[in-house]
Symmetry: C2
Subunit: 318 residues, 2 copies
């Protein structure tokens, strides 16, 4: 929640001369996104979002991310559309950093999704997967299941420090999940960070998704696994199977899952919980005390891991 780069009126005017989007009327730094600087820009032609890419997003990945957003918008999915500059490029430069302008997407994210929200969010994720079909860019998922052992090894001590015995427990989870990890499920570009704060609603209906900066090629059903962890746990740590069934039903209202995908969802969700536990544990240790941005608590995902270890029950027929 911070603007890292502060842009003056002169810098903005110079940057906008490269675009055919009119003269600026209003420009506000937005307290959104921990890894980029985001601004709401209004011109006499409309409203836009200007993003300056800071540290964590690799510049080499930007053509993939912005190209994917463009592809989604061109195929009818409600996401912010990157605006090309006068040279037809989606990525410009501001203060020596990569920067992009995208269209403004209205909608509100929900803090505590109801099963009705989960159904809509599931429908939106299937829509995203469908609209992404045919996108020719590729990006390996550097936080996919192949990466987890490598992520875990240097964090054994941190896991133990969090809770004695946790390193061995997590290692057990990893071995079990990776041994049965599926191969050959339908694949494509996944959002990979489809959390409630990245999904917009309007009048309780799905209105769009934002923040595609983890998007990568992977098995589509793994995206559902990530989302089940993010959308279907109660604040007390329990799994809300009604919400999960609603999410999957919403998803299947647009894209039918194969029997293999349905059968593997609990395992994929367990793996997704490992991925977020590991990266949160990493960020937790890497963030100096008193830093501007408070890292997310890895214990939230440690509790989700325990639920998956005990086994979640998604469908009556399984």
């Amino acid at each position: 929640m911070a603007v890292y780069t502060d842009i003056s009126d002169d810098e903005l005017a110079a940057f906008l001369r490269e675009y055919d989007i009119g003269a600026p009327l209003s420009f506000k730094g937005i307290a959104e996104g921990v890894e980029n600087s985001n601004f709401l820009l209004e011109t006499d032609r409309g409203r836009f979002f200007l993003t300056i890419y800071e540290r964590r997003v690799r510049a080499a990945d930007l053509p993939f991310f912005l190209g994917f957003m463009q592809h989604l918008a061109q195929h009818g999915f409600p996401s912010a559309t990157p605006i090309p500059n006068r040279q037809g490029r989606l990525i410009g430069e501001l203060r020596g950093k990569p920067a992009a302008i995208v269209s403004f997407l209205t909608g509100l994210s929900v803090r505590r999704p109801t099963p009705a929200h989960c159904r809509e969010a599931g429908r939106g994720l299937a829509w995203l997967h469908e609209a992404g079909h045919g996108f020719t860019g590729t990006r390996a998922n550097d936080l996919g299941h192949q990466a987890w052992i490598g992520l875990f090894e240097p964090l054994r001590g941190a896991a133990e420090a969090l809770k004695p015995g946790l390193a061995a427990t997590v290692e057990g989870d990893l071995l079990r999940v990776l041994e049965d990890w599926p191969d050959g499920l339908p694949d494509g570009v996944i959002h990979a960070d489809y959390f409630p704060d990245n999904v917009f609603f309007r009048a309780e209906a799905f209105a769009g998704a934002i923040d595609f900066y983890f998007a990568a090629n992977d098995q589509l059903a793994y995206d559902i696994g990530i989302a089940l962890n993010a959308w279907c746990f109660e604040p007390d740590g329990s799994f809300n199977v009604t919400a999960a069934r609603a999410f999957v039903a919403g998803y299947e209202s647009r894209r039918r899952l194969s029997p293999a995908e349905r059968a593997t969802l609990p395992l994929l969700a367990h793996g997704a919980a490992l991925r977020f536990f590991l990266t949160r544990l990493h960020d937790w240790g890497a963030t100096p005390a008193g830093a501007l941005v408070r890292p997310k608590d890895p214990l939230e995902y440690e509790r989700k891991l325990a639920v998956h270890r005990a086994g979640i029950h998604l469908f009556d027929e399984i």
Copy 2:
């Protein structure tokens, strides 16, 4: 530059039920204002600014500030208009803190004002003073000239620490300025913080003023003194007399200054420099190292004090 209070969709919906401004479409925390939490709110009826008042603004002063903004808007001055809730009140409550919704004002502030901007800003300040005429609320200026000795006394050590000998120099300034401080100039409600970041332009023309949370009753020309310090110094610390004359000429294009006001402007600007030097010195010492918000450097105003001490020359005829 920080959002202090984070509001959920449910809290927003509950708050908005008290207003007749439509359903929310978009809600973004704005990185603007160091003392309040500000949000840009879009509904199906328009765009608004939602402010939650944190620490520094006294709740007891809010009816004055918001009443003054309402008065200005009702008298044609381009400022954000407070929106009454269904009970007709301008101040509501969110998370146990006072909160208000005001209309959205477009415009861009300028980082480095040209003399042309200064002329427009001067015109805008006179407009503000004119439009404020007749407002019945009153608020003593607790940072006015009567407060400066009391502000200075506990800061003698801090002044010396900033620069050896500075305590005696500032005391000399204070005695000189207060001895000649005028009395009986035209008075009214002044903005009292009319800095470039609080003034909006559209296509180089004055488009409005924001941030009325220092407004108070005082002599109107003192507001010009504050603004001359804020608008008419170069980054190298020198006084730009062309910019200052442009500011005053712009002001006089709407409201003619009396000979006494014109003659006193250099003294009023010297006093205004003392006021901002003292509060910045106070904030500098009071802010713990590594705090979220970096206080403004008091040395900027120490250099302006030196310029005023040597004497600024505003008009050919003086």
